[in-house]
Subunit: 319 residues, 2 copies
């Protein structure tokens, strides 16, 4: 029965916590999400997640752990991998939180695997989404941060410490770019992450002084014709185009699916991105590259977390 | 006997043609090289290479093909891979030259494999050089061009078309960088390749108007204190540092061996490289990265070509 059993998938992000029961084929049977609590301590956050998992299992009528093929979890980085000790930048309550060990305590006896959420995205898009059938893929998430995961020669790449895919720290403007939260200058993330775009736009008069304005507001205003909104999307698109050109030359990629909130900005973002990419990626072999919106939308994180279990031969290289 | 047989290794570059008989352990038994003839037609160039191969085989007392484990060849790119149809940028006589097919005609009955010369370098450094024991390596050649090859998760990465590793076209200065021969702007190669450094220095008064001045002259003059020579090496080092920082974040690398003529410029080059790399590569996992001169020097190309045969399980993914 283990073969046909579903997986429990968990997605821990700075904006939301989500859980789902996922069929072997990748379909979500039940799912639920809550906004990530901001003010909770580490243990309370864990209990919120635990309750969410119990809810989707109950709704699916699955007895855990007996009825499960395993538990896969995606979480914001950085993390110690494959130990699954997580310190997600956007969740200050969890610093060196032993997520994998806690999930094992809770669910025991079935495989429990934790991976970077951006790596889950690329696994999902490769398994069931926009990169299906491609052997060389950079999956990107453009949101509060800019993350990614690499599949090369049809294998998920881990790298020396499980951190391969950090495309957000590819340098796109070393001379005049802003300082990044990593301490470097001109990283893609320092320019294209949502909050950086909002700050850039507010410094140019857009919703000046308004607290809580988001990159979605900025994209929406751009779509309505606001020149700063349009310019901000162009700025992000250009930075993405340069980083993707560099990654494509280095890794000989076929397809780059882009997910995350900003990827919903459409041609305002993807137009300048394509233009910049084509201006820089001129070698014959990189001209074939396709940049596409991620196909799985909001469920990608959960589908990818499930893939760690349900297609672990391809998407899990840890212990 | 096949297991203990040596390989014939061939290295086709814009500056020299080389051949060697290489023992299973990686030692060169016999080797020979000639300057790459500039004025010859395709067939004459082939005959020159053929004669060079015959010479090293004779000197080693090896009867080909019976006494050979196979024939491995490294050649400047681009090429159709794994077909081994080569069009090396710096050898105009060969355009779509079927190097692998011709070697097969000549040597038949043993494996014949052709790969990009920069990929041979990384194979050599991983097999017998400065990257031995590391699982995640970007090998670089900084010379007339800037090339590279990637080993990730202990496997040589091919990419979609066998072109993974083109670090020379990572974008390091998109706003003010020079136009590259690929048509892009601000590629690493456009700044750090030898002839580009020479042109940059001559525009600043160094050996102004002198025909045939080389990057080696420039490095030598820098070592003697010439300020333009020093500034040119710093310029190359910074560009290399930015590209390596980007590659390290994307691929989670452990070691970057650098070969090619410019890598012999020593601390004048590696000092600014390290400084720039450390300024940009700030995430915890990239701080461990080591950048080192390639250990195998001029024989790296031949050792790597031999590795395509003698350690083909690790360094050859083609047919």
């Amino acid at each position: 029965m283990a073969e046909a059993s579903p997986a429990l998938a968990i997605d821990v992000g700075g904006t939301k916590l989500a859980a789902a029961v996922v069929e072997p084929g990748g379909r979500l049977v039940t799912w639920a999400q809550v906004p990530t609590p901001r003010e909770l301590a580490a243990e309370q956050l864990w209990r919120t997640l635990d309750a969410l998992a119990s809810r989707v299992l109950d709704e699916a009528g699955v007895a855990a752990p007996a009825g499960l093929a395993g538990v896969g979890a995606g979480c914001g980085g950085p993390m110690e991998w494959p130990a699954g000790v997580v310190s997600p930048l956007n969740i200050p309550a969890w610093r060196s939180f032993p997520l994998r060990a806690r999930l094992r305590e809770r669910f025991g006896h079935v495989p429990v695997r934790v991976q970077n959420d951006a790596i889950c995205l690329v696994a999902a898009e490769h398994w069931r989404g926009a990169a299906r059938g491609a052997g060389n893929v950079l999956g990107m998430v453009v949101s509060t941060g800019v993350g990614g995961g690499l599949i090369l020669d049809s294998r998920l790449i881990s790298g020396a410490s499980g951190n391969a895919g950090h495309v957000g720290h590819v340098v796109v403007d070393p001379s005049t770019g802003p300082v990044c939260s990593c301490g470097g200058r001109g990283c893609l993330e320092a320019i294209a992450r949502g909050p950086a775009l909002v700050a850039w736009a507010q410094a140019r008069g857009w919703r000046e002084g308004q607290q809580g304005a988001t990159a979605k507001d900025l994209a929406d205003d751009g779509a309505q014709g606001h020149p700063v909104g349009i310019a901000a999307m162009r700025r992000a698109g250009r930075a993405l185009g340069i980083a993707i050109a560099s990654a494509a030359c280095l890794c000989d990629l076929e397809v780059v699916p882009i997910g995350g909130g900003l990827s919903q900005a459409g041609s305002m973002l993807f137009g300048p991105l394509e233009e910049t990419l084509r201006a820089h990626a001129r070698l014959g072999f990189v001209r074939q590259l396709r940049v596409v919106p991620a196909a799985l939308g909001r469920s990608a994180g959960l589908v990818g977390a499930a893939a760690l279990i349900l297609a672990g031969d391809r998407y899990w290289a840890g212990d």
